[in-house]
Structures are given as C-alpha cells and as structure tokens.
C-alpha cells in the first residue's frame, strides 16, 4: 500500500476534555484528504498532533511507515500552513520561503535555494513580490506565501489548518480552485482541516467527518454526501429533513400549493424564503411542528410566509438513514 500517513487509535485527552478520542485513518500518497467538522470536534488537535505541537495521550502516528510520535516538530517531514499564516513579519517574502530550506536542507547551496524559492514563488504567482514584507501584502498574497513556504520543502504531508477561513468569500472560492490545481501539479499529499463542508466536498479525494473527537464517517465526498452513515454527517453535509422517519435532502423535496396526486405528502406552512440566485430555499413548518427545508430551482409558485403548502418527494429520493437522534455514533 502507498500509505504515507497513518494514525492509529490516536487520542489526546485534556483534563477537562477528550479532544481526540481514538482516531484511526490512513492517507495515501498524493491524496487530498480533508478532516471536516464543527469547531471543537478535534480536527485541529489532530493536525497539531501530526505536526508535533501536541503530544498524544496514546496511539501512534506513522509517517512513511515510521513512528514520529517521539520526534520534535522540526524533525518531522511534514509542514503546516497555519490558519493565521504565521509569516515572519521581519523577513521578506523571499526569506520567509527560504527559511525552511536553509534549515531542513543544510546541504543546499545558496544558488540552489534561490532557484527553488524562485520556482515556488512562480508556482503560486508571486513573482515580483520577493522583496516585500508580509504586512505589505494582501490577504490572498499572504496565503500564497504561507503555501509556498511549506510547498518548497516538498514535505511528505502538507498540513493545512483552515487556510481559507481568513479570506473574504469571493477570494476564498478562487483560492479553493487554485489550491486544488496546485495540489495536482505538485503531487504532494494534503491533509486539509476545515469546518466548511463545501470546501471539503469540492477539494477532497477522500474526507472524514469528525465529531466530538471521533471520526463519524470516512470516504469519498460522493459517498459521504449520498450515503451518510449517521444523522450528524447528513446534517453537517448539506442538511436533511425528517418526514415521518424518512430522511430527505432539501434539494430532493418538492413543494406545491395544490395537493399532489399519487404520492405520500405532508401539509406544511411556509415560514420564510431565501432567494439564492440559482435556487430558492423555502423554510416550512410541518403540521406536526417539525421544520422542513425545501430547495428548488423551479419554483412554479411564489411562496410567502404563512402560505399553506404541500411537501413531498419522489419515491427513491429518500436517504438510507436511520434517525439516531443527531448525536452521531459516539
């Protein structure tokens, strides 16, 4: 197998909290792997354990087949892109990027370091900004420096701690696409931490959803979206409606004022509608009081809060999911 990073029953317990509570997973060489979960689910602690900033309570971390649990951060062949970027404010872009090479590859000549720095800055499109200081750069440019600084080392695994969260939404989307392209072209294994399900779904080859220090489910984005194993995963990835014990995605729901024929339907009242450009999200309340969200591209009727409607779904659109109360497989 081409496993580059393996976590074996990794745990990190703090006096008041079990931050990571037995996480096992294998990441393949060249893979874009995401850890997705709400804040406090243990994903950042997992990343810090791999980087070496935290010591595990128990369990093992294998990097390229070797246990790295006893190695300090500077001896582990991984590199982190920090959420805050953590660029050295007193060093120019060039020197920030050269920092790791100078220390991790002591055999390299000055000229070779300069050549590699130039190459990676070209890769992240920062040519011409070599002599700038971090505070003279925009948010997106700082992000690229942080990436370049880690990429230039060609680590076994690149660890990214919510690297896009500090960017504004438009830039975030653009950087997301670039990140994916970049990962393909450099063929470095990425371990990507995020709380944004859209990022995880669009970027990952495989991903794991974490909750309360545990992995709820691991698989390809398509698997996790179409066959969520737990209610937590379903609700975290795209949301889910519960109608009479059946789970349906909002975009699979149908809505109309008139009662449809030949299908099982529920009567509901519209509580609000959000126009999203290419679709409309209609919030409703079923007669039994539980909420139900309908996302539709072709709203034949215009619905207003207070309207009485019928909601239903086409047979076969249900999700194979049991209602486990939403607390996950804890």
């Amino acid at each position: 197998m081409n496993t580059v990073l393996a976590l074996e029953a990794l745990t990190k317990h703090y006096p008041t909290q079990r931050a990571v509570d037995g996480v096992s997973l294998c990441i393949q060489k060249g893979e874009f792997f995401s850890l997705l979960g709400p804040s406090g689910c243990g994903k950042t602690t997992t990343l810090r354990l791999v980087a070496g900033f935290e010591t595990p309570t128990s369990g093992n971390i294998l990097l390229g087949g070797q246990s790295v649990v006893d190695l300090p951060p500077h001896q582990r062949d991984v590199s982190t892109v920090f959420q805050s970027y953590a660029l050295f404010p007193h060093l120019t872009v060039e020197k920030n990027v050269a920092f790791g090479l100078e220390r991790r590859r002591p055999g390299l000549s000055r000229a070779e370091i300069a050549r590699r720095v130039k190459g990676v800055l070209e890769l992240v499109q920062l040519t011409g900004k070599e002599k700038r200081l971090p505070q003279q750069l925009s948010g997106g440019e700082r992000q690229r420096v942080a990436l370049a600084r880690s990429l230039v080392l060609q680590p076994k695994v690149l660890l990214l701690d919510e690297p896009l969260s500090a960017l504004d939404p438009k830039l975030r989307k653009q950087m997301r696409d670039e990140l994916k392209k970049l990962q393909r072209s450099v063929a470095i294994t990425f371990l990507f931490i995020t709380h944004d399900e859209e990022e995880a779904l669009s970027l990952s080859d495989r991903m794991a959803v974490m909750n309360r220090g545990l992995i709820e489910q691991l698989g390809t984005p398509r698997e996790l979206y179409s066959q969520p194993a737990t209610r937590f995963v379903a609700e975290f990835l795209g949301g889910v409606n519960w109608l009479g014990g059946t789970a349906i995605r909002p975009e699979r729901m149908r809505i109309s004022a008139a009662e449809p024929e030949g299908v099982r339907c529920f009567r509901a009242t519209v509580t609000g509608a959000t126009f999203l450009g290419n679709s409309v999200q209609i919030a409703t309340r079923l007669d039994n009081g539980s909420p139900c969200v309908v996302e539709t591209t072709a709203a034949v009727d215009v619905f207003r809060p207070g309207d009485a409607v019928h909601v239903w779904w086409n047979p076969g659109d249900e999700m194979p999911l049991k209602d486990d109360g939403g607390q996950g497989a804890a």
């Binding site: 300090p72 982190t80 805050s84 050295f88 404010p89 920092f99 220390r103 080392l153």
Partner: protein, 275 residues
C-alpha cells in the same frame, strides 16, 4: 469646550513651567555666569565654564560614565531577556511574576543601595560567610570599585529592562515559533531567528530606559563606588558642594542632557530604520 480644556490643562502647564522650564533656564543662565567666592554665581557673563568642560580630564569622566552605563545596560539585557521571556510564557502566573519584578520599588532606592553595602563590604555577609567556610583567607574587595557600581546599577534598573521586553514578547504570536519549528528550526534556532529579532523594539526601549538613568546616576557610584568611581553625576554634585563652582556644575549638567538627547536621536533613527 475649548475653555474647559484650557482650564484642565492649566495645572499641568503651571507645574511644567515652574518645576521644569524655569529651573532649566536658571541652569542655562548659571552656566554662563562666573563663580562666586562662596558658591553661587555673579557677573560678568562668560563662556569659561564651557571651555573647562572640554578639558580632557572631564572627557575621561564622561567616557567612563558612558562605559559603565553601557556595561550595566548590556548586563540588564542579558539578564532581563530570559526573565522577560519566561514571564511572557508563564500563562496564569504572569501577574504574580510581574509584581515580583516590581517588588523592590516598594522600598527606597537609597535603603536598598545601603543594603548592598552591608552585603559587599569586607565585614559584610558575603565575605564573612566565605571566610567562615575557609574558602578565602582575606576578604574579597567587593565594594568601592567599578564592579560594585555596575552591580548596583544593574540591580536598580533591571525592572526597566524587563518590563518593555515583556511587553513585546507577550504580544508575539506564539504560532510564529511553531512555524519556525515546523520549518525545521530547533527551539534554540527559533529563539535566535524569530523571537529575538522580533523583540528588538522592546530591547531598544529597555536599553534607553536603563542607559539614560545610569548615565546620570549619582547615588550608586557615590555609595558603592566609595567616591573612587566618579561618574558625571558625582562630578556635578561636587561642583555645587565642595568645589563651589556653580557655573561649571551647570555646564556639566547641560552636557549630560545634550549627551542623552544625542543618544535618544540616534536610537530613534535606528528604530525607524528597523521597523
């Protein structure tokens, strides 16, 4: 509104004018007059005091003061940096540790300097204990020399180095050290390549706060130097008492001030280019 502001500022103006500006003018005037026979000043106006300042004998004292102050400042930096770093990293105990740094201020500087004399003199605690343990035959010459003066200055002004250093170190983003280690720097290398360079503003502020009062110090060289280690402060004091040469004492005071101003300008210039 403007009136109210003027009213509130008046006391400050009065204090500054009567206790700062007026004495400054008096000292300037004194430095340009002739000495009176029993102290004091008299006419005619003359530049004689300033020509005496240029005497190499006094130049040596100025140089010596700067040298002692420089050594004391460097020692404060070397001792203060690890301490400030330790306090800035001691989450939860910072307030306590900072209070301990400032604890000596609760007692008069004069009394604390006397305490050092009792520790350092030939029959003092250190020499007595060392002799009782038969580690030394005769008392070590600990007091009344340059070393004792530097010790006293370092002891007295160390908090002024620690506090600004702490302020810059405490503000440093801890993820910067993590990033350095992540990029292959051992903790020691991370300290020298990231923590120390980023603490330079604090080091500068601390150096200024220590060097300037050291340069003008009078009490410490007087008591711990035993009058042998003469610094500018002692020379000035001497002119107003034993020597009864007020114009020369005034000219010397202004020289110290000029030196400090030059030092501050250079420091400010350095700091600008650094940031």
């Amino acid at each position: 509104m403007k009136r109210l502001r003027a009213w509130f500022l008046t006391p400050a103006y009065l204090v500054m004018a009567s206790l700062f500006a007026a004495p400054m003018l008096i000292i300037c005037a004194y430095s340009l007059l002739s000495r009176g026979p029993y102290g004091g000043v008299m006419r005619p106006w003359t530049l004689e005091a300033y020509t005496r300042v240029l005497n190499p004998l006094y130049g040596e004292i100025v140089w010596r003061s700067a040298w002692i102050s420089g050594v004391a400042t460097a020692a404060c930096l070397v001792l203060g940096f690890p301490l400030a770093l330790f306090i800035s990293r001691a989450t939860g105990r910072r307030a306590l540790l900072l209070n301990l740094v400032m604890l000596p201020f609760w007692t008069s500087f004069l009394i604390r300097t006397y305490a050092w004399m009792f520790l350092l003199r030939d029959t003092g605690l250190i020499n007595t204990v060392l002799q009782a343990l038969h580690l030394i035959g005769a008392p070590l010459p600990l007091l009344f020399n340059d070393g004792a003066v530097i010790l006293g200055l370092v002891y007295g002004y160390l908090p002024f180095m620690v506090l600004p250093l702490y302020a810059t170190l405490e503000k440093q983003d801890p993820s910067l050290v993590e990033a350095a280690q992540d990029l292959g720097a051992s903790p020691w290398v991370a300290l020298w390549t990231v923590v120390v360079p980023l603490a330079r503003p604090g080091m500068f502020a601390g150096a200024i706060l220590v060097f300037i009062p050291c340069l003008g110090s009078y009490l410490t060289p007087d008591l711990l130097g035993g009058g042998k280690t003469v610094m500018i402060g002692n020379l000035v004091q001497n002119q107003f008492t034993t020597a009864r040469d007020w114009p020369f004492g005034s000219a010397l005071s202004l020289l110290v001030m000029a030196l400090v101003l030059v030092f501050l300008r250079v420091a400010a210039r350095r700091q600008e280019t650094m940031l």
